[in-house]
């Protein structure tokens, strides 16, 4: 698949738009359909697409494993951190009203950061799972030197 010029060109054209669409879904989630889960999945899907077309090694240099693993944990910590921030500012855990002078604005701020946390975790986990499966694949191919299963797909 790596040497198909049509795929490479179309992929190169489409991937920035997929990533941009993910960001749109993320930040427009208050007003239209969308939010952290969808954005994270779409973002991950864009990167998986990149890996399928240009090869896993290429993608791994762009989005290294360490970054992905950090993302998995950072998202949950960000979410929990928003809760702790509410606690420190005198409210209950995950109470967004205290995050700003204006109660409504505080809600907006809380929802925003929580959604960012969700998106980061979901994207990280999806990418990590994909990397795991794909790299396993390659190891086995190397081990058995392209046996009967290798050419079936």
């Amino acid at each position: 698949m790596k040497h198909d010029i049509v795929l490479r060109v179309v992929g190169k054209l489409l991937i920035p738009f997929i990533l941009l669409f993910a960001l749109y879904v993320q930040f427009h989630g208050d007003f239209g359909p969308g939010g952290g889960f969808q954005a994270g999945v779409i973002f991950a899907a864009g990167i998986v697409f990149h890996a399928l077309i240009f090869g896993l090694d290429h993608t791994r240099t762009l989005v290294p494993d360490r970054l992905v693993e950090t993302m998995m944990a950072a998202g949950v910590l960000l979410y929990a951190g928003v809760g702790v921030a509410g606690l420190l500012l005198g409210g209950n855990y995950l109470d967004y009203f205290v995050l700003d002078q204006d109660r409504i604005h505080g809600q907006h701020r809380g929802i925003f950061w929580v959604e960012v946390g969700v998106a980061i975790t979901v994207c990280g986990v999806m990418l990590k799972i994909f990397y795991m499966f794909a790299s396993r694949d390659r190891d086995r191919d190397r081990d058995r030197d392209r046996d009967r299963d290798g050419e079936g797909m």
């Binding site: 007003f31 239209g32 359909p33 939010g35 889960f37 999945v41 979901v122 986990v125 999806m126 799972i129 795991m132 499966f133 396993r136």
Partner: protein
């Protein structure tokens, strides 16, 4: 005669509940795949079919005919119920995470036993026990 009367009262009842009937059909076919097939990946596909039927079970009662999606705007008055949407949204993402975990287990089993058929794995286990 009485059968005809019963069916004439049952039919509109069934039409009122058609969303539930679709749900039940999907749920049962998922269940059937899980019970009857020995292949672990096929079982996981069956589980995800079962899961989608649960999505339908939750979402369908929240719909009101004539309502719109729960995104507030001044020109609409009637909305679907947003609560099931939220629950199912989280369920989908958790579902794919658990699906991936199940696939991982299947891959590990394949590496350990060389097969992902349930009965072959059991046979291999029995053989190993006998040899001990």
């Amino acid at each position: 005669m009485s059968a005809a009367v019963a069916s004439s009262s049952l039919l509109p009842e069934l039409i009122q509940h058609f969303s539930h009937i679709i749900t039940v059909f999907l749920m049962v076919s998922g269940l059937y795949i899980v019970i009857a097939r020995g292949n672990l990946i096929k079982k996981l596909v069956g589980l995800s079919v079962f899961q989608t039927s649960v999505y339908l079970l939750y979402i369908a009662p929240g719909k009101i005919i004539g309502g719109t999606a729960p995104i507030l705007a001044s020109q609409y008055g009637v909305y679907s119920n947003p609560l099931p949407h939220v629950l199912i949204l989280t369920a989908i993402v958790v579902g794919v995470a658990t699906l991936a975990l199940g696939l991982t287990l299947a891959v590990r089993l394949r590496e350990a036993y060389g097969t992902i058929e349930e009965d072959e794995i059991l046979a291999l286990d029995q053989q190993a026990e006998l040899e001990e």
